[in-house]
Amino acid sequence: CHTSGMLTPNGKEYAQKIPREELTHLILRLLQAWKEPLSNFNHHIEHHQELPDDSLSKAKQISNMVHELKTGVEKVTEKMQSMGIISNSLNGMASSEGTGLSISNEANMMSDSDFIHCFRRDSNKVQSYLKILKCRIMPENSC
């Protein structure tokens, strides 16, 4: 997977240990890393005649969701930073943009099944991190 290069905690303890800012940032990076490849993928499969229409619409839907999720996380991050829950230290999203480009280049070279596999895994990662983050920041909320 093109995101394999990212250093992500691969266990609960690690995810709980790293500071919240890092975790947030990580989530955002992941989401960012998938923005381009998803749209490329959508373009790519549009030309696949044999795929049912459901798949195409589903893929579009997924990329929209990822985009919205990223926007949401960004907003939440801003809010958290303004509330002082997390520090403002890592605001350098711009730097991640650069890495994002190279990553997405890699993504183009993956086969479709690998692509889907990688996406599935990374979405699971994002989900888990978000949940942990949520419980770390607001422990009373059904945690």
Partner: protein
Amino acid sequence: MKQKLISSVQIILQLALTTVGLTGQSYPGKPKIVRCRSLEKETFSCWWKPGSDGGLHTNYSLFYSKDSEEKIYECPDYQASGPNSCYFDKNHTNPWTTYIITVMATNEIGSNSSDPQYVDITSIVQPNAPVNLSLETKTSASITYLWAKWSPPPLADVSSNSHVYHYELRLKPEEKEEWETISVGVQTHYKVTRLQAGMKYVVQVRCMLDLGEWSEWSSERHIQIPNGESPPEKPTIIKCRSPEKETFTCWWKPGSDGGYPTNHTLLYSKEGEEKVYECPDYKTAGPNSCYFDKKHTSFWTIYNITVRATNEMGSNVSDPHYVDVTYIVQPDPPVNITLELKKSVNRKPYLVLTWSPPPLADVRSGWLTLEYELRLKPEEGEEWETIFVGQQTQCKMFSLNPGKRYIVQIHCKPDHHGSWSEWSPEMYIQIPTDFRVKDMVVWIIVGVLSSLICLIMSWTMILKGYRMMAFILPPVPGPKIKGIDTHLLETGKSEELLSALGCHGFPPTSDCEELLIEYLEVEDSEDQQLMPTPSKSTKMIPKETDSDSGRGSCDSPSLLPEKCRESHACPSALQTQDVRAVQENKGGKRSWETQCIASEQKILFFNNETTKSSTWPAAQLPNNQLPIFAYHSTVEAHTIILSTTNVNISSVLVGNEEKHQSQYPITGTVHDNIEKQREMEKFKSDQITVQVRQNRQNDKSPLLNPKLMDYVEVHKVKQDEEPTVLLKHKENNIKTEKCSVPGTSKEYTKVSTVMDHNILVLMPDSRIQHTSVSQEPAMETSQNVQKSQAEKNMSYCLTVPSDCKRETSGSEYMDPSSFMSSFK
């Protein structure tokens, strides 16, 4: 000679035989019973082999007898066991009798029967062979065993599975010829020990019931005995599971070891790395397993896991198994399931089920999110109802039936990829029956009330059954001809019949042909009491005991109008109840049924059990005795309703069944009448509109309104509008009486004629003392009236239900007959 004869006979015989043989048709050959067999000593079958069929279609039938009985039976079932067979089912099989069986072959020419076969069930028992023979080799401690397992032969009748079979096993190496037979006993498995390694064996098994024969040998099974000196077989990895998304375990299944002790090792490598690790922990999760603890568990990485089996001869590696731990999470079932019964707002109980996530799962940090699902069913039920609950750890259940027991179970699953846990242990719920005291009380009250009602009704029925019946189902009046006695008819004496008709002086004239009114002769012993004021008039009444002296209704003085007069004196409120009682009374009495018997005075007794319903104008007076009515049944049916005491109007309805089967009066008329009566009461000075209903055949009979029998005087007639006769209220009458203004008005009229069947033409007349009219003169006057029909000053359309309302001049009453006659 003799020889010639003999030879010729022989020749003839031979010829016959040859001809028979040539044509190819002869009686069938003798069948032969091949064998009889029982599978389980409860049923048996016999098969036979047909002989030659003699060229024609042959029918076979099997006959048997038991032991020494004489009776011969035929085969119960030719089909079940196939062609040329006979199947004896359980009902026809008796293990302790000897059957003597013969088969008869019949064709067109003749028949032939087989030799009898003596069959003793116990000796022909032979079961089927055992089935499902399975073989397995096991090696332990360098000794290889052969495990053989099989099932008893299947029976069509599964219920009778109490048979105990003895088994026998035989095996031999494939190439050899000799079998080694082992007696197994009653078990369905056996362990063979003395085996040559490396050889291929053939195994068979057979069975026997406690008596009878051995079954056939089952089909062969082959097995290879592992050679002690071979590398082990490939193990297989069964599954890997993580219970809480932090650790995981893998299990494998070893293959057969080649006769030597085998070691298994698990090796794995992670995605993206080359390094191969060995399982960190073989023990924790049991034999043939590997436990990866937290340190060795990485998520979002694929593990490549293999198992290697090694023995002295070599090793063998299983196929690789790829595992990503995130996707193999299967939690433990939820714990701490508690039930709580709560009552909702409207007192309905509902159940609150709460549970906790399994202890290992870390839900608090959000690492693992579980979703729950529960299922429940009534204890006796078949199907589970599954409810997906989501991530909450409680559930409210409303739709449970009180008094029933339910079983409930819960399981959970990670919200993302993963699999469902096992179901939690069964939890039993008993819903308490919500027996509210209030409900019980209500039911008790309902029960008591209904029983009371039933009692009352039955009591009423018993006491007044007859009357009730008549009330509910009024008796259908039979046809009655006035003056004719059915007895006479029966006896067939026409003379008497005619005399009955004639002697009565039954006016055969047109006068009475269409008598519409049946007048009622009322006799009351207490004459005096009847009419206080117009006593004179009332006196008429008693004198009126006009027995049915043949005058017929036309002439009978005892007319209702008179009776009405009686009631004249008693203005009292009409009580509908009374009237109803009257009807009731009548119904009960069936007084309608009375017939006009020649020369008899018909006395109708309206007996009321209750004084209240003494329907009698006379009865208006308190303490009145019951009035006695005499009535002639007239041609038409008239119904006179007797009003009860305290009724201003006592209307008497006399049913006339003479010519038709009119129904009784009709409450409608009564009510009609009643209303009118009421009106009359109310508007004392008012004019009363009276409606005379003409009684026609099959019509409702005019109601002789007793009250109006009071001689309600015709007060006025509105001719122009609705032609109605306005009859003065009797009270007014009284007053007017007292006023005694002669010629005041034509307040009394007599019926002059009747027109159009519903118009009563009354003759206005000078006022006449209405109090002192005697019957006789009344009669005369009435007759006069009759004669002077032409004269009509006023014509009214009377639709009065009561004849009483008709006033005749000079007479205190209206003679219904007078106008009756003119009813055409």
